[in-house]
Each structure stands twice: as structure tokens, then as C-alpha cells.
């Protein structure tokens, strides 16, 4: 047995499943994109899936998350379905935003997922506000905001973390440090080696975790969530990883040294967990094949569903600007 923080065999296999579902979904969207069947840009988390899956798996259903644009995994863990994912990319009426927003801008308040918006770090003050509500109502819930290394340069990051620290709110700030912000390397984004160093400005604890190790991420998120839930205030979790593709699929990332990609390819989070589960006897060949088949079925079904779903009706364009 792999004994990780009370995770059962079932849990471990689920985490493995979510990692692979995420990878496979994104790979499929890339294909659709190349076939010209997707509208707009495509943003993937290839090689970083362990961060969103591992952390989201640590939260309770009543908790709230604000995944960023490379956190499909967290959305899946919280209940987004592959059908919704593909319907969103194909701009269908059946997607989570009914075609009003696109690609990675899903979200459903009922499943505790805030809907991503493009300006980087904008969701962090919002997440602090969710946590403020929990604190005011004395609810044992936590809120988790995801962001990238580049987003940490924005004023909204600073104001959000400071606000949460001063009011001791139950928030996790989860950074995927994938070493690039679009074409901008970390060293051009900050003069500190770790995003975690930013936490020192706020008097909150920070942990650095191997972002390609789903179980390590899980453990860090679980511990920080417990702290937050019991009044210990916010934690910043920096997950070290590498962006393995371009910023979006139009970008060939030729500015990234190939050597860096090679180095990180060897650390692939899925292969890594797979090895571990196999060694521990949790995953067998048959088990692996079962999961692969299930995912392949789900994705085929989802793509079909999305493609057969209607595009939204242009006539409804002005509906729903205001709540009534």
C-alpha cells in the first residue's frame, strides 16, 4: 500500500484517473483545434495536471475553488464533466457558459467553482471575499485560488493576499510556477527565486512543493486547508513545475530552451504516479487498461455530445446581462 495521508486505494486510483482524464481531454482539444473545429485559443495544463488534481482532491464539497486557466484537473475533480468541457470549447449552448464565454472559462457556483476570467490574478481578491463570507458566517469552509507565477506580479495578487492575511481568512493561494508567463521567464517576472518568497511580505506561511507529484500536492493542500479551516489563516502553496507546451496552441514556445523541456519531460506527473501505484500494487495492467478505456469512451462520448449540441441562438444575445 501507498500510505499517503489517509488516501485509500480508491482515492489513489481516482487521482490517477483525473490526471489522465485531464491529459486526454486536452490532447483531444488540441486535435480539434488543429482540425479547425475549436473557436478561439486553446490553453492546456500538459505536465502540470498534478497541481490542480492533487490540490482539488484535498478539498471538501462545500469548499470553493477558483481554478486558473491551467486547472482543468481541479474543475474535473469538482464535478465538471467532459461533455461540458468539450461543449465549452466548441462554443455550444450546452457548455457551462452557454457559449457566452469560451475555452477555460468554466465555473459553476453550485459545485464550488468560480468562473475564470482572463485578467491574471483577478480571482484572488474574489476568493478572499468568499473566505470572508465563511468567516463572517462561522462556516468551516475554505476557499482556494489558483494562479501562475506571472500573475503574482499583479497588484490584485498583492492586495488579495494582504487582505486575507490581515483578516486571517481561510484561503489557500495555490501557485503553479511553470517558470514562464507566456514568453516571459521567471527571472524577468520577479527578482526572487521562489514565488513562495512573496509570502514573506504578508506574514503567512508558504510551502514549496514538487508540482509534478500529485500526492505531495495533495498533502500540502490538505494540511493548508486544515489550518485554514481551523482559523489558522491563509497559506501560499508554490507548486514547481514546467509549462510543457506553448502559452496557447498557436505558440510554438521556441523561446524555451529545449533542454529544459527534456529535463521536465522525465518528471511527467502521470507516469510518476503510475509508477508509484504500480510499485505499490494499486495499479495493475488490467486496471490501467480499464481506466484508459473508460477515459477514451468518456471523451468520445463528450466530443460527440459537444458536436451534436446546438450552437447558442444569436437571438438570445442580450439575455441575462442582469439578474432579476
Amino acid at each position: 500500500m501507498v500510505d499517503v495521508h489517509g488516501l485509500s486505494t480508491d482515492d489513489l486510483l481516482k487521482i490517477y484517473y483525473y490526471l489522465r482524464l485531464t491529459r486526454a481531454s486536452e490532447d483531444r482539444v488540441i486535435k480539434l483545434y488543429r482540425q479547425g473545429r475549436v473557436f478561439g485559443g486553446v490553453y492546456v495544463s500538459n505536465g502540470q495536471e498534478a497541481i490542480s488534481v492533487g490540490s482539488a482532491y484535498a478539498f471538501a464539497p462545500e469548499d470553493v475553488t477558483a481554478p486558473s486557466h491551467r486547472d482543468l484537473g481541479a474543475n474535473y475533480v469538482r464535478g465538471l464533466t467532459p461533455r461540458e468541457y468539450f461543449a465549452q470549447y466548441l462554443g455550444r449552448a450546452t457548455g457551462p457558459t452557454r457559449g457566452r464565454d469560451g475555452n477555460v472559462h468554466y465555473g459553476d457556483i453550485k459545485r464550488g467553482i468560480l468562473c475564470f476570467i482572463s485578467p491574471m490574478a483577478d480571482l484572488l481578491p474574489v476568493v478572499a471575499g468568499c473566505a470572508l463570507a465563511f468567516k463572517i458566517r462561522r462556516e468551516p469552509r475554505i476557499a482556494a485560488g489558483y494562479f501562475g507565477d506571472g500573475a503574482s506580479s499583479r497588484g490584485d495578487f498583492h492586495e488579495a493576499v494582504n487582505f486575507a492575511a490581515v483578516l486571517r481568512l481561510p484561503v489557500l493561494f495555490i501557485c503553479n510556477n511553470n517558470q514562464y508567463a507566456y514568453s516571459t521567464p521567471l527571472s524577468r517576472q520577479m527578482a526572487v527565486p521562489h514565488v513562495a518568497d512573496r509570502a514573506k511580505a504578508y506574514g503567512i506561511p508558504a510551502v514549496i512543493v514538487d508540482g509534478n507529484d500529485a500526492l505531495a500536492v495533495y498533502a500540502a493542500a490538505k494540511a493548508a486547508a486544515e489550518r485554514a479551516r481551523t482559523g489558522g489563516g491563509p497559506t501560499l502553496i508554490e507548486c514547481k513545475t514546467m509549462r510543457m507546451r506553448g502559452h496557447a496552441e498557436h505558440d510554438d514556445a521556441s523561446y524555451v530552451p529545449p533542454r529544459l523541456l527534456e529535463e521536465w519531460r522525465a518528471k511527467d506527473p502521470i507516469q510518476r504516479l503510475e509508477r508509484r501505484l504500480r510499485e505499490a500494487g494499486v495499479l495493475t495492467d488490467a486496471g490501467e487498461q480499464g481506466i484508459a478505456e473508460r477515459i477514451s469512451r468518456e471523451i468520445e462520448d463528450a466530443v460527440q455530445f459537444a458536436e451534436q449540441s446546438p450552437l447558442p441562438d444569436g437571438g438570445g444575445v442580450t439575455q441575462g446581462v442582469y439578474a432579476v
Binding site: 459553476d108 484572488l124 481578491p125 471575499g129 492586495e159 442582469y322
Partner: protein, 324 residues
Amino acid sequence: MEPITYLEAIRQGLWEEMERDPSVFLLGEDIAVYGGAFKITKGFLEKYGEDRVIDTPLSEAAIVGASIGAALMGLRPVAEMQFADFISCGFDQLVNMAAKYHYRTGTPVPLVIRAPYGGRLHAGPFHSQCPEAWFVHTPGLKVVAPATPADAKGLIKAAIRDPNPVIYFEHKYLYRHEKGLVPAGDFATPIGVAAVRREGRDVTVITYGAMVQQSLEAAAAVAKEGIETEILDLRTLSPLDVDAIVAAAEKTGKVCIVHEATQTGGLGGEIAALVAERAFRALDAPILRVTAPDTPVPFSPPLEDAYLPKAEKIAARLRELAAF
């Protein structure tokens, strides 16, 4: 019943809403211990406690963002900008996050931003602005701007009860210079409904905020010369009461639009466009505007006097229109 000030009316409205609905809470800079820069929330901390009256760090983006998060979790935040001039520091959260959230996801964002605005207190370029037009041009936000104590109270209540983000522009000059009766008991002034402040058959003024009083003065002056002025107080700036605007324009066929904000790109343009499209057949004269000129708000009294639209300037234009 005694007349009360505009400031007291806002205070009462906030107080009663907090009493009525435990999900209403206040946040902002210096609003709790100090009671706010204008003392509107004085005594609230003592009565409602520090969970519901929250002093925040100096960070407008965090204040607006946290309000959005709390609203998404079912609370009813009322955030104070210490001066409307600083709303530009939380601008992105308002126009990108708050304004678009419901359209994209169907989830309401019920929050109120209180924005003390306007000039005539010799407070210079950064404590006197009238930035309402930016928000009127942002679909998804509602904007109100009461001119009387009754509406100040009725609209703060309506804003708090509204399921959308509402920016409540409260005029600083009116705080202590405007007194009036307010209805007894609980009441709300409906959002989206203008009010005729004076009936007249010769010329029409369409205005709001501190300019209502100036327009009434102008109307009284020209009445002595036999010119009868219809005055429409918009009260809500977004959504506009288009029917009332068209009716007021058609009644006299001669329209003067008055606002304290600078002219170019101000709300006067929108109103003129509505009139010139929908009341065109009834028009007997050019549509005139009395507004501040296109400059920052100057500090020194002779400059600010020259800057602000006042009764005399309005009266002069009404005479022009009447003579047309």
C-alpha cells in the same frame, strides 16, 4: 416628522437594511472604528459588530474583489470607496469581474459600491470627480445617483436589495447641504424610474444629482420671466428610464441636459442621443447641454466656480431655448 439631511438619510437606509437582513455587511477603509471619512457609518460597529462592519487595508481592488466573492457566497456586501475618485483603483474588478459575471454564468452578484462624488467643496482634482459615465457604459452594472434625502434613503435600500452590482453615487456637497422629508417606515425607491421634480410646458431639463437643486433654482429664476420648466431627475443612471426621458422631451420639445460631470463622453450625450432618436418629431430646438468643461476639477475657488455648472448658467440656456 422632521426633515433630515441627505447624509442622515443614507445612514438610516444602511442602518435599517442591516437590521432587516443579516446578510448585509459593510466594508471599506476607516468605516468601522472611525465611522467613515464622512461619518456615515458612525455607530455601526458598536451596533452590528466587527463581523459586519469591517475596516480593510488600503486596497480598493481587494475591497471590490472581496465584495464580489462575498456576494457570490450569498452575502450582501456594501463597500465604501472613501472617495469616488479612488474607484479607478478597483476599476478592473468592477468592469471585468462584477459586471460580466452574471451574463457568463447566470450567477447573481448582489453588491453595492458606495461612491462619494462631486465637487463644490474645494477638494481639488482627486476628491471631486464625477466618474459615473464610465460605469453607465459598462453593461452589467447598475448606477444610481440620488438628489434628495428621500431618494438617498430609498435608493440605498433598493441598491442593497437588488441582485446586481450597483454603484451608488452619493454627492458629497449634498451630504450636509440638502435636507428633506423622507417617507415613514420601510420603503425603497425603484431602480430605473426617474422623477419629475417640477412641471412645466416651455422647456425641459433632464438632470440628476447635485444639479437637480441647481436646475430647480434656475427654473425658479426663469419662471419670473414666464418660462415654465419641466425638470426630470433621472435618479437611476443605468438602466435609464427611457420612457420618462422621451416623455419629458416631447412635452416641451426643448431640452437642456445638465450634469456636473465633464461634457465630452458624459451622460448628456446618451440622453441627447435618446431624445434625438426617439423624440425627434417633437423637437423644436437644438438639444443643449450644461456641464462641466473638459478639464480636471480645479482646486481654487474661482476656478472651481468657473468649472461647476450652476443655476445661472442653466437659466441662461433655458432662456435661449425658450426664445428659440
